[in-house]
């Protein structure tokens, strides 16, 4: 798949497939392969259990009734599968009454059936669970390695449900197959037996199956739409309540309580209407199937009874047939029940494999260059040109160098391409035009994993993972000890506030860090990056205003952590860059000025204007209007305004830079 042909909208579409897609099952079986022995055992067990359940009525009908209670001539040549002989053998060897022997045999079969079924369930669940755990892991790993450009375009919520719900649906499907096997095997065995006893009665009874099947089919078809409407109304109802609860303050402030209650009542009514419709149908269908069984009993009595009178079959066979009736109807009912699961899981399978097959990835060198133990920290951008897929050039021929240990600030108006510079350096995006060197090595020749361990990027928005403060600093890296994390926190000036938390480093942080201020989050972000001890530090500073205490702490920390480290600071607030050795001014994807703070102020160019704007109460704002407006096509704008769920607060959306703001 090339850049241009990737259709990301596929990830947003609801896949609801109508046709059976057997290829999906074949692929699914691939994951079952390591557990095939367990799976085959499971299938063998269900066949065994089915045989037992078919033989039980034979003991009742053929052995007890036909040979013990009412010995008759008609039954002599009807099949009994050796059960009569087995009973006789028991009578002979144990010296018991024939009835006792038959009952013993019955008990034996009951126990065998129960145990076989138990073993079948466990083996099936075990193999299916393991296979799906593997599938889920493979899917997760695939998503974990998808590049930034993928997540720019695809909503996290969309791919997430593939890992959770869709894999669950496949599990239901596998269990459903197990259930069908549990119904179908006895059906086939029973049918075989019945034909053996009486072709006529069996043929007549078989008419019940098309009736049940037709009813099931008609019902399922009618219900698909109704069930969909019920589901929609239920989720509409619940979503409405959830959103109302989440925005309850706004609801109350706007005085919308009564109006919302009315809207909820409307949805509630709609839901009730749909539920009524659904159960009205459902009850008829359920009752129809049980009635069918009773009709079949009547048929057996009438016609089968006649056969007994004509001495074609035995009375025991009638009893046998009676017991087999449910075995005939159950599979049809089961198929009906699995119908929806089948289609739902097919759509799920398709979504899973779509995500697995998506081949977007960052280019990895086939033979990566190993970086030395310790880097000097020299960086060079040479004629780098870059555009986000489908957009115009964000960087146009950017070249600059950073000496080992030097601190470089990159400033520029919104949309100048500042953040893109570091995204390319850390190889979040592939670029083809120009070269970037790290200690003289082309970054494209370095494994991304290795590269990113050497370059510590502090992202604009600090993502808080649920867990303790310590977990958030160390992430899941086992190499970072508690001591190391604490050292990093001290270096990043985060230690004072962490110590004031209820449990210090072991304080649980709320999801998305709601119990930390912006500034505190920023300090933690520093600590997180420092803990990994990167040789090069890159800070993409957040635009948000933060409280003054943290602001000062951040400046202090910045001063300390950049000491002796090659650093790049993308600065939005110019006060942060005073620690830097040199300033690079980017504008519209080009390096426009560079030098020290004093030099650039003296030059009275873009830097000077930006500086004035921030510090001088925007007296020069008017003068700058021209700077901030970028010529972009409306087309490019709307493309980037696509849905991006679950990303937290993105800093300002600006189409000119083309990309997502989070890096």
């Amino acid at each position: 798949m090339s850049e241009a042909t990737r259709d990301y909208s596929a990830f947003d579409a609801e896949l609801t497939h109508q046709a059976l897609n057997l290829r999906l099952f074949a692929r699914l079986l691939g994951w079952m392969k390591p557990y095939r022995i367990t799976l085959f055992t499971s299938v063998a067990l269900v066949v065994g259990a089915a045989a037992m359940s078919v033989l039980l009525p034979v003991i009742q009908g053929r052995v007890v009734v036909d040979t013990i209670l009412l010995p008759n001539a008609a039954s002599a040549d009807l099949p009994d599968y050796g059960l009569v002989d087995a009973t006789e053998w028991l009578v002979a060897s144990l010296g018991v009454e024939p009835l006792t022997a038959a009952v013993l045999l019955f008990i034996l079969l009951v126990l065998a059936q129960a145990v076989l079924m138990f073993a079948h369930r466990l083996t099936l669940a075990s193999s299916a669970l393991k296979a799906l755990r593997d599938l889920r892991l493979d899917l997760f790993a695939a998503l974990e390695r998808k590049p930034a450009s993928f997540y720019d375009r695809v909503a996290v919520g969309r791919v997430m449900t593939r890992v959770t719900n869709d894999v669950e649906n496949l599990f239901e499907l596998l269990l459903g197959f197990g259930m069908l096997a549990g119904e179908f095997v006895p059906f086939v065995l029973a049918l075989f037996l019945m034909f053996h006893i009486s072709t006529e009665v069996t043929g007549l009874l078989l008419l019940v199956i098309p009736a049940a099947a037709a009813a099931t089919y008609v019902f399922r078809m009618a219900m698909r739409e109704i069930f969909r409407l019920v589901r929609d109304s239920v989720s509409g109802l619940n979503q409405y309540m959830q959103e109302d609860l989440m925005g309850i303050e706004v609801v109350q402030l706007s005085g919308r309580e009564a109006r919302n209650a009315e809207e909820y009542r409307r949805r509630n009514q709609e839901n009730r209407r749909q539920e009524f419709r659904a159960i009205d149908h459902e009850v008829v269908f359920e009752t129809f199937n049980t009635s069918l069984a009773s009709i079949a009993v009547a048929v057996v009595i009438w016609y089968g009874g006649g056969e007994v009178v004509r001495e074609e079959i035995s009375l025991g066979s009638i009893i046998l047939f009676n017991q087999y009736i449910n075995m005939m109807i159950n599979p049809v009912v089961a198929v009906g029940q699995q119908f929806n699961t089948l289609f739902r899981s097919m759509a799920s399978g398709e979504r899973i494999f779509q995500a697995l097959d998506w081949d977007e990835r960052i280019h990895e060198p086939p033979a990566p260059v190993r970086l030395p133990e310790r880097l000097r920290g020299e960086i060079e951008f040479r004629n780098v040109r870059f555009a986000y897929p489908g957009g115009e050039d964000v960087l146009k021929d950017v070249s600059f160098q950073i000496a080992p240990g030097e601190k470089l600030a990159i400033v520029g108006p919104t949309g100048s391409g500042k953040s893109t510079v570091i995204r390319l350096l850390a190889r979040f995006y592939d670029f083809a035009d120009g070269m970037i060197f790290l200690d003289g090595t082309d970054v494209n020749a370095i494994a991304t994993h290795d590269l990113r361990q050497r370059i510590g990027v502090v992202l604009q928005d600090f993502h808080v993972f649920s867990g303790t403060v310590l977990d958030n600093i160390a992430l899941s890296n086992p190499a970072i000890t508690r001591e190391r994390a604490q050292w990093a926190a001290r270096a990043a000036n985060a230690d004072p506030f962490i110590r004031q938390l209820a449990d210090g480093y072991d304080t649980e942080l709320a999801e998305r860090g709601h119990n930390l201020s912006q500034g505190q989050q920023q300090l933690l972000a520093f600590a997180r990056v420092l803990a990994a001890d990167p040789e090069i530090l890159v800070l993409d500073e957040a635009t948000s205003s933060i409280d003054t205490g943290s602001e000062l702490a951040i400046q202090e920390a910045l001063h300390r952590i950049t000491e002796g480290r090659t650093s790049i600071v993308i600065a939005h607030r110019l006060q942060t860059i005073q620690e830097c050795d040199r300033v690079l001014v980017l504008h519209r994807g080009q390096v426009r000025e560079h030098g020290t703070h004093e030099e650039l102020i003296a030059r009275r160019g873009i830097y000077y204007t930006l500086h004035e704007l921030q510090f001088q109460d925007s007296a020069v704002a008017a003068e700058l209007q021209g700077l901030d407006t970028e010529p972009t096509t409306p087309d490019a704008r709307s493309r980037w305004a696509g849905p991006r769920d679950g990303r937290g607060d993105l800093p300002d959306f600006d189409p000119a830079e083309g990309g997502p703001r989070t890096f």
Binding site: R136, L245, Q252, R452, S517, F653
Partner: protein
């Protein structure tokens, strides 16, 4: 049918027979449908009776075949069975429909009351019950009630009848065999009950493990950029393997338990049929039982044992539903926190003078009050700024003014009138609060901006959007005001959301406007622009704004610095600068004109010395 909307499941593990009393709370809801309920029940009783008659005809037919002395009699029983089937079909379908419709209606009533009850609750309530918790009560617990009304209850009501009918016919045929056959049934029922109840913890574990998988995946993918930037993918995959394996184990354990349950039932249930086979068979051989009766016995047994296992299952459902009912009424029984004064005399014209006298407020459970005696008056038409650290009590103050927090009488006054005497709707019309957290509903931008009064003309909406600095965004959006925002639509950036929230407040044109730090995600230049515009727009009306930035505060007529729930200093920008206190320090640091490191570290030191930085965690104004 499965609901795609998933919420965490209810806790059921502590459900016990003692809780059954909670189900009484449902009676008033069922009473509305007393007549149809009675009719449905009667109908179901009829079907049970019809069920009990079928084996009688089976018996007649088989006896006529088994006994040479009797003329074969097949047509009458077969036709009778067909007739019964038809009658049963009609009666059953009707009663069942009525019954299930009633269960749906009861849930409808419960849900409606639930939503209405929750709508008017205050912050104390929402601290106690989180959104997820409330949703779980509204979805799972009410679903439980539905189950118990449509299935459990009827099973229990019909149980005695079915048992009586089955036993009647069985005893009629052979009292002795009946006694033997019935003997194992209580054991079956008890086993079914206890095993079904023992299943709940497994279900819960399984659900919790699934919730772990979900939240791990969600969190991981939301933070994917951080993980990739820190090159932690492989470690995360290893962690996911553990989470996924744990889930598989929990499902396996639940399945194994279920397997044991089925195994136990598969062994226990056939005991009675075996007794029939053995003892009944002997009776037939002895000539005291006919073959037809022998067959009919099996059929009745099926009926009786079916209802006995069902009652075990229903009773376990009852205990779970009782716990669910309790959880529903726990919410419904919570009284409203903020009482609405319906009677207060209302001035037709609000001048907009807002005053706080000796305002004191402590968040429930917090060690110290968030506001500890604040006296502050905003004259009509004045613009006042509040500054202070995180957790200093600024947001609490604003919330008290619109009674999102309930403060005692005699503390907050609008135009000299105690706000507790004003009808809530009137108060919130007069005072508009733009909250700190920019929340948008997932609907169109238009509906979001004119949320309080739908149907405002577009030019008003666009005007408010312009004033809030959202004009450019609006023009960029392909669908303009009709753009869907929120979860199901375009995701706006934090700054855009904040500006939309601001527009939603501005459009109301209220006499008093409260802005709670609503520029935090907006860059300084844009903020400047909005504020300048705002001054013109609000001319002559009252504005109270909270900020962290001196550059914002300086636009105000007067500035209050709040710290630890007290007013630390107040005055105009110039006065406060001259005073050389906290505000002056802040100004120095933020404007950065002052390069004096010593002064910065002093401020930093002061801040660290006594800063309860995480006060916000206890419900402050973060």
């Amino acid at each position: 049918m499965r609901n795609e909307f998933r919420v965490p499941g209810p806790r059921r593990e502590r459900a016990s027979a003692r809780d059954l009393g909670h189900l009484k709370r449902l009676f008033p809801y069922a009473r509305r449908y007393a007549w149809p309920l009675g009719a449905a029940l009667a109908g179901l009783l009829v079907t049970r009776l019809l069920d009990a008659v079928v084996p009688q005809f089976l018996k007649i037919a088989i006896d006529s075949l088994a006994d040479d002395a009797i003329e074969p009699n097949l047509a009458v029983p077969a036709l009778a069975i067909l007739g019964i089937v038809a009658a049963r079909f009609l009666v059953y379908v009707l009663s069942r429909r009525v019954l299930r419709r009633i269960s749906i209606s009861i849930c409808y009533d419960l849900r409606k009351r639930f939503f209405n009850a929750v709508q008017y609750q205050g912050p104390g309530f929402f601290n106690r019950f989180g959104t997820g918790d409330l949703m779980s009560r509204a979805v799972n617990d009410i679903g439980m009630v539905r189950m118990v009304v449509s299935f459990g209850w009827v099973t229990v009501m019909l149980f005695g009848f079915t048992l009586a009918a089955g036993l009647y016919f069985m005893i009629d045929m052979s009292p002795e065999l009946t006694a033997w056959v019935v003997l194992p049934l209580p054991v079956v029922a008890l086993t079914a009950f206890f095993m079904a109840r023992g299943m709940f913890p497994y279900f819960r574990d399984r659900q919790e493990a699934m919730a772990d998988v979900t939240s791990f995946t969600q969190e991981n993918l939301n933070g994917i950029r951080t993980i990739q930037a820190m090159a932690q993918e492989e470690h995360e995959i290893a962690r996911f393997r553990r989470v996924g394996t744990r889930y598989a184990q929990k499902v396996y354990r639940a399945t194994r338990y279920q397997g044991f349950m089925n195994l136990a039932m598969a062994v226990l249930i056939p005991i009675s049929p075996i007794i029939i086979l053995f003892h009944g068979g002997s009776l037939v051989l002895a000539g005291s039982l006919s073959v037809g009766e022998f067959t009919a016995f099996s059929a009745y047994l099926l009926m009786v044992s079916g209802s006995i296992t069902a009652i075990g299952w229903s009773l376990s459902l009852f205990t779970a539903a009782a716990a669910g009912t309790q959880r529903i009424f726990e919410v419904l029984d919570t009284p409203r926190e903020v009482t609405d004064a319906a009677t207060g005399a209302v001035e037709s014209e609000v001048r907009g003078e807002l005053s706080f006298t000796g305002l004191r407020y402590g968040h429930p459970g917090a060690a110290r009050p968030a506001i500890d005696g604040i006296d502050l008056t905003v004259a009509a038409g004045e613009t006042v700024a509040l500054l202070g650290r995180v957790g200093s009590g600024k947001s609490t103050l604003l919330k008290a003014a619109v009674r999102l927090l309930d403060t005692p009488r005699g503390m907050v006054f609008l135009d000299g009138q105690d706000i507790c005497d004003l009808p809530l709707a009137r108060l919130r019309e007069a005072i508009t609060l733009v909250p700190q957290d920019p929340f948008l509903f997932s609907t169109t931008l238009r509906e979001n901006l004119t949320y309080d009064t739908p149907g405002r003309p577009d030019d008003l909406i666009v005007g408010a959007a312009e004033a809030a600095g959202l004009g450019d965004t609006l023009r960029e959006l392909a669908d303009g005001l009709d753009t869907l925002v929120g979860e199901r639509g375009v995701t706006l950036s934090g700054g855009q959301k904040q500006r939309a929230t601001l527009a939603r407040g501005l459009i109301r044109n209220a006499p008093v406007l409260l802005l709670d730090d609503c520029f935090s995600s907006v860059d300084t230049e844009t903020e400047e622009r909005i504020l300048r515009h705002l001054q013109g727009l609000r001319g002559g009306r009252t504005t109270l704004l909270v900020s962290h930035r001196v550059s914002t505060a300086r636009h105000a007529d007067r500035i209050y610095v709040i710290d630890n729930g007290h007013v630390l200093e107040s005055g105009t920008h110039a006065e406060l600068l001259a005073r050389g206190g906290y505000y002056a320090d802040l100004e120095a640091v933020q404007s950065n004109q002052d390069q004096d490191r010593a002064r910065k570290s002093r401020l930093l030191h002061d801040l660290e010395a006594d800063a309860p930085v995480l006060a916000s965690a206890a419900g402050g104004d973060a």
